[in-house]
């Protein structure tokens, strides 16, 4: 078959950014998968609640302090997170490096509060179904904080290495920032579900 060149693409950028980036779409797709998982965990929580004679089952409502503190911390972390996304768009290496260090710390800090959240539930996973679902919801979200933290740490190392100053890396930084927004956004309905629904 003969080929006739009808389109010249030589002027196109050699790497897509934002919605022209494949990893951006991939991140979005994984967020859809995980978001469905989070939503289902809330559905399971509400389903078990609808069957229970009283709720929470054999436990007082969770203590508000650690969970609310973690929520506040996550919301605060959105500010540097948005800044780092902007700096990544500007491909400002120095600022991105600083931002990544801050975001690494802001990834570690919630873990300390999360450790306090489990006892604040006043129930163990193996006591009853209420205990099981709250531990699994907390655990599910913790794995997401951990995953993003590891990714942030690796990116921090990368940006301090010779591979750092590369549009592709800036794209990774902004995708990672988007994923952190997701980690925060999914927590909010879980926070309401875990801490406030038992008080209704």
């Amino acid at each position: 078959m003969n080929r006739s060149v009808v389109l010249d693409l030589s002027k196109l950028p050699p790497h897509g950014l934002g919605t022209a980036s494949l990893t951006w779409w991939g991140t979005l797709a994984f967020m859809l998968i995980e978001g469905t998982g989070f939503a289902l965990s809330i559905v399971v929580y509400l389903y078990l609640m609808s069957l229970a004679p009283h709720w929470p089952l054999d436990a007082p409502p969770p203590d508000l302090l650690p969970g609310s503190g973690l929520t506040a911390l996550l919301i605060v972390s959105l500010l540097p997170n948005m800044l780092i996304a902007r700096w990544a768009r500007q491909q400002n290496l120095a600022k991105v490096r600083i931002g990544l260090v801050i975001m690494s710390l802001l990834g570690v800090a919630p873990l300390f509060l999360r450790v306090l959240e489990f006892p604040a539930m006043h129930i163990s996973w193996d006591q009853n179904a209420y205990g099981s679902i709250v531990w699994v919801m907390l655990g599910l979200h913790t794995t997401h904080i951990l995953t993003d933290l590891v990714e942030t740490l690796v990116l921090t190392c990368l940006m301090f290495s010779k591979h750092g100053d590369n549009p592709r890396r800036y794209g990774d930084v902004s995708d990672n920032a988007m994923y952190w927004n997701f980690v925060v956004a999914t927590w909010l309905p879980m926070y309401v579900c875990l801490y406030w629904i038992p008080r209704l």
Partner: protein
């Protein structure tokens, strides 16, 4: 060795066809040898592997089916004891659903979608390699467990509490649940790849209304996978937790609920049927268009039907639970929604009929399988309407009627199109033609054998024969039909045997295939058979729904891509306007290491929860190795 600085950013426009082929081959090919095989990220090699593996699982699952037919051929037979029989039917269902049907459809997409949208590799090719290794590991886990008499024996649906800690001692149920994790990880990974490939890597000009119907069907299927599979992941994780660390999700004594499992399982399980069926719809549309010599009638209606089916698929799950004792009002809603899905299915059937009527049919083997599909699938659809009715279902649920129904739907609706698709795309995949004579015999045997095997099961079900029984007493009036079914199964098996013989023989020594043996009009036929590692020397530019039929002498292509790195084009979602030249990751061994590390973690975690903690360390290391830049041209910008 070319020093890169000398030829900084060499573009395809500077090269003639011979030079271009040579340079692209250097950039894109997979090295020979074991290391090359283990580290390749070529979607065609991985897709082929996926297809072969899935067909091996099909053959194994078929052997299990024959074993069951042997045991059921006469009353109180003693060929297989109850323990082994329960493992066998569990394995048959699990294997066919999770290791054959879903993976084989995704495998076809892994091979075909990048070619059909005119790109050089699938999006996230390393994830693709990873997904295959995970799939293989999950399949091996299940079959090795079965070989050492530890195969799951709780049904492919693994209802609690039978699969729970109290009634399923040992590791059989855990192996089932963890096999789910393997196959779901792999299926979800492929779904993400397909979605991004279809949305962002289409050839310039392939706007949404020019996407081939098979690609549309895979796009919808991938979204179904993304939205349905998390439910089974949550369910199987909860089951493992109940079994391993004593959570109480499914324990009614501690506030858990038995039906929660059924809800979660079928919220995934019903879309699963469409995850298997919708790709087949795409295959049928492709084959019908090619062998009636005209585009499928009602393109827009077909796409709408695909999307509608996908949406409705999430509103049907309760019809698997009509006898579980749910509120009457809910059941009525699900009767109506289950009936309603017959409307988009009917629309598709009518559009194909219209295409056949208006076209000029050519009765080659792929088309014969499509005709067989029409005959059988319509029966499956009809019995589907029957089981959607609550009172009807109370008599046939969990009987051989339902066995007949879903084999009509899944074998008729998906395996027949798949076999047609294999005959159709075999020349593209292997570069050789399959035998038309053997193809006709294969079709005849499978069509006859299938109907003789499965049609009588409708009657057995109405006569009161439940599913999943390993024998029956001679005073039950079922012996005659069961013997008849078992004998017919031999015809069916002979058909499949002939298919495998034909496929293996043709792959080795069939006549060489031209680029476009069927005179088809989609892009995969615009390149050689089999395609070179880079798929297209110059990426096609699309101006219509049928890029090869309007202008069959010359193919419009784009120029200006770099040949020094693996490069393809990213286009916009709706109109497929070029947005960027993008690199595609090169070969890497790290997906294999990652899959091995994940396999260790998952299997270990059947035994102790600490495996999640310690096992995640090698997984993290492998993933960092995977993503850490190696300074390759693909990493440049």
């Amino acid at each position: 060795m070319i020093v890169r600085d000398e030829v900084e950013d060499l573009r395809d426009t500077a090269l003639d066809e011979v030079q271009l082929d040579r340079r692209l081959s250097e950039t894109w090919s997979t090295p020979t040898g074991l290391w090359g095989a283990l580290s390749t990220v070529d979607h065609k090699i991985i897709g082929r592997r996926y297809i072969y593996t899935a067909f091996i699982f099909l053959a194994l699952g078929g052997i299990l089916a024959l074993a069951m037919r042997l045991q059921l051929s006469e009353p109180e037979a003693r060929f297989i004891g109850p323990d082994r029989y329960n493992q066998i039917f569990t394995m048959h269902g699990t294997n066919m659903m999770f290791l054959f049907a879903v993976p084989v459809m995704e495998a076809m997409a892994v091979y075909l979608v990048p070619l059909m949208v005119g790109t050089r590799n699938i999006a996230f090719p390393r994830l693709n390699a990873f997904s295959y290794w995970m799939y293989l590991a999950g399949g091996l886990l299940l079959w090795i467990a079965f070989a050492v008499d530890t195969g799951p024996d709780v049904g492919w649906f693994a209802y609690v509490p039978l699969s729970g800690p109290q009634y399923a001692a040992g590791k059989r149920a855990d192996i089932w649940a963890q096999m789910i994790t393997f196959t779901e990880v792999s299926a979800l990974a492929v779904a993400v790849e397909i979605v991004v490939t279809v949305l962002k890597q289409r050839a310039p000009g392939m706007s949404l209304d020019r996407i081939p119907l098979f690609v549309w069907s895979m796009l919808v299927t991938s979204f179904l996978i993304i939205l349905a599979m998390p439910a089974i992941m949550i369910a199987s994780t909860a089951l493992i937790l109940d079994r391993l660390v004593g959570t109480h999700f499914f324990n009614p004594a501690e506030g858990g609920d038995v039906l929660l499992w059924q809800h979660l399982f079928w919220f995934f399980g019903h879309p699963e049927v469409y995850i298997i069926f919708l790709p087949a719809v795409g295959m049928v549309s492709t084959i019908v268009a090619t062998f009636t010599r005209r585009p499928v009638f009602g393109y827009l209606a077909m796409v709408m039907a695909l999307v509608t089916t996908g949406v409705l698929a999430f509103g049907l799950w309760v019809h698997h639970m009509f006898v579980a004792g749910l509120p009457r009002l809910g059941e009525s809603f699900f009767t109506a929604s289950s009936m309603a899905i017959a409307i988009p299915a009917g629309l598709q059937i009518f559009c194909w009929l219209a295409t056949m009527w208006a076209g000029r049919p050519v009765f080659k083997t792929p088309f014969l399988f499509v005709i067989g599909f029409m005959v059988i699938f319509v029966i499956g659809g009809m019995t589907g309407v029957m089981v959607a009715s609550v009172p009807f279902d109370t008599q046939v649920h969990d009987t051989y009627f339902v066995v007949a129904h879903f084999h009509y739907v899944l074998v008729g609706g998906a395996v027949f199109p798949l076999l047609g698709a294999i005959y159709y795309w075999f020349p593209k995949i292997t570069g050789r033609m399959m035998s038309e004579t053997l193809g006709r015999w294969t079709f005849g045997l499978i069509f006859t054998g299938f109907n003789l095997t499965f049609f009588p099961m409708h009657i057995l079900g109405l006569q009161g024969m439940p599913r999943r029984i390993y024998t029956y007493q001679p005073e039950m009036p079922w012996s005659g039909l069961n013997m008849f079914i078992s004998l017919s199964a031999v015809i069916l098996a002979a058909g499949f045997l002939l298919f495998f013989i034909d496929a293996i023989r043709s792959a080795a020594s069939g006549p060489a295939a031209p680029d476009n043996p069927w005179g088809a009009s989609t892009l995969e036929w615009a390149t050689s058979s089999p395609p070179l590692p880079y798929n297209f020397a110059r990426l096609p530019v699309v101006g219509s729904l049928e890029p090869l039929s309007n202008n069959s002498e010359t193919l419009s292509v784009a120029g200006g891509l770099s040949v020094d790195r693996r490069e393809l084009i990213v286009t916009s979602v709706v109109e497929a306007l070029p947005e960027a030249r993008e690199s595609s990751p090169g070969n890497s061994i790290w997906p294999l290491w990652s899959a091995l590390a994940t396999t260790v973690l998952l299997i270990w975690s059947i035994f102790t929860p600490w495996a999640v903690v310690w096992g995640s360390i090698p997984v993290s290391i492998a993933l960092i190795g995977w993503f850490w830049p190696k300074g390759t041209p693909e990493d440049d910008t």
